[in-house]
Symmetry: C2
């Protein structure tokens, strides 16, 4: 494998070989395994020494990804500087909502001029910044080096080596290709795109649609309703994305359609489960308590609605989810509001 | 409700009021209920007098749609000519594979100049003609009057009044709008498009993708794989459709994405169930025996593959399903062939 060298953003003339993954949660650990299975040398950093000691001694990350045997090419450490020595690419595998504080530490020790792959999705609460924007402004990483990994990617399924397609988005195509060539395996097939905005808008908006399909399920509705919500949901997120500079095909691809279908279908999706509780008539507070944690769709529907209003984009599903979450609209009312609109072309 | 009158294809100056539905299977009966709930007067024709007598005396079609009470506005008859007296629109609700022989009878008694709504999907075996083409050539109905109804529409869910979005496709937009205004209800929301080719190609190709996702399921794979197959499947059917004159957005809409997601998600889908048996290692003959009937995806993958070859379109999922069905390729081999292709942009 050789990497095309049309861009200064890609380091060296050989394929990327030494990766450092920062964050050893389920997805970070899984992606470390993918990279190792693709033949790369991987250092996996975790803050907690108990986690890295476990990985190095048992070849398992029993805290976050039990049952998965990690290849020998994955070496764990909790020494950040040491983890990054010789890294030809860095993978950011920390949660979206702690990305900023982590970057404030990482940026002083991260090598410059190397691809930085972000596994974090969504937007930052408060600022509304997309993850790649946070990485650029806080982490001081030029956009040409920031690669966003997204798509229908449940960590547990990838770790079990189930066939998975993914998307690597970077404004500089050569950077995405370099990472693509470094991480493709028999079970993990990455595609490249240059539409970072689209990838990130889709990664945020899909959670709203998952809440909406959950609400419909909680009301007792079946596949006609779910499929209609997914389709019309992708339609409205595409309209918003295009207005913000994204490309429509991104939403018809793995980052849009693929991730949305997977998220809306998964019994494990927290967003969908929250929707089910709302559909059964629980208030937002009670539904959040029942699902047990911060649920992105609840945050996203508010910020996405604001964005849509500012840009004059009609997003009826986002609006309906917002009304159920924050304005005590009944869930049946949400469905009714979607069905009672005037007849239109598709 | 008034109908815009820009087209000679639309009859009269008032909304369409008198519909005749030809065929009282589950979907024909369900659509008769939808029309009646929308305020239309409906005559439902079935060949068998036992079926129509049952409907008229019990308000139920216990042969095909048990448990659903039909509105009084639905009147059933097995007298074909009588059924069509005064019809302002005709609905063809007979199976795709008997459409030709039925039309040879219907065409002599069908009123001329009225919208003809087709509930039949797919292509005719042998000729490879799309249903609208069969209706045109055999039924002598001008294309401007043929409206294809499609989308994520399981009859049982519509009959249970679950919120459903649907597509009405007609080359003459005013005809589609006339039908749209006549059949929208609180639970049934029709959108109009003019891309009949796209609607029909999607309606055929989605069954191939459902077989493919079934195969993956039979192999024990989860949502990453299913979502990837759905996404890449829509991608390849879009490329074929556009080559044949369809419009790409149709495939991102209810007729493409919506119907594909619903079909691939449904435990009731015969195509998906057949795929599951193939994925478990059964031969095509044994899998067909296990699922019990003609399965469209098996026919479609052959005809669609031919079409793709003739037009030089690469359709890897269709090819893989064909190889499993007709060339004794192992299902794992199918997945491997999809994953081992050279890295590309999306």
């Amino acid at each position: 494998l050789t990497v095309q060298q049309n861009s200064a953003a890609v380091v060296g003339s050989a394929a990327l070989q030494r990766f450092t993954v920062l964050g050893a949660g389920a997805f970070g650990t899984t992606y470390a395994k993918v990279l190792a299975d693709a033949g790369r040398d991987v250092v996996l950093w975790a803050r907690r020494e108990s986690v890295t000691a476990d990985i190095n001694s048992t070849r398992r990350n029993r805290t976050y990804l039990d049952d998965v045997l990690l290849p020998d090419r994955v070496r764990a450490t909790s020494e950040l500087e040491q983890a990054l020595v010789g890294a030809q690419a860095v993978v950011l595998a920390v949660p979206s909502q702690t990305m900023r504080e982590n970057l404030a530490v990482f940026r002083d020790v991260m090598p410059t001029g190397v691809p930085v792959v972000s596994l974090a999705k969504g937007v930052e609460i408060g600022t509304g910044l997309r993850m790649s924007e946070v990485i650029g402004t806080v982490g001081h990483v030029p956009a040409e080096q920031v690669v966003v990994l997204t798509g229908p990617n449940f960590a547990a399924e990838i770790a079990a080596e189930q066939p998975t397609a993914t998307v690597l988005a970077c404004v500089e195509h050569d950077t995405a290709v370099a990472v693509q060539l470094a991480c493709g395996t028999g079970y993990f097939r990455p595609y490249t795109i240059t539409d970072v905005i689209g990838a990130e808008i889709a990664g945020t908006a899909k959670n709203i649609i998952a809440v909406a399909t959950g609400i419909a399920e909680g009301l007792g509705f079946g596949l006609n309703t779910a499929a209609s919500l997914i389709t019309r949901g992708l339609n409205e997120m595409t309209r918003l994305g295009v207005e913000l500079g994204a490309e429509a095909p991104t939403f018809a691809g793995l980052a849009g359609l693929g991730d949305t279908v997977a998220t809306c279908s998964s019994p494990l999706s927290r967003n969908r489960r929250l929707g089910v509780e709302l559909g059964r008539g629980l208030s937002l507070d009670d539904a959040l308590e029942a699902t047990g944690a911060l649920t992105e769709g609840v945050v996203s529907c508010r910020s996405t609605r604001d964005l849509a209003h500012r840009h004059g984009i009609d997003m009826p599903i986002t609006e309906a989810v917002y009304q159920v979450c924050y304005r005590h609209a009944g869930p049946e009312q949400m469905i009714r509001s979607l069905m009672d609109r005037p007849p239109t072309p598709e």
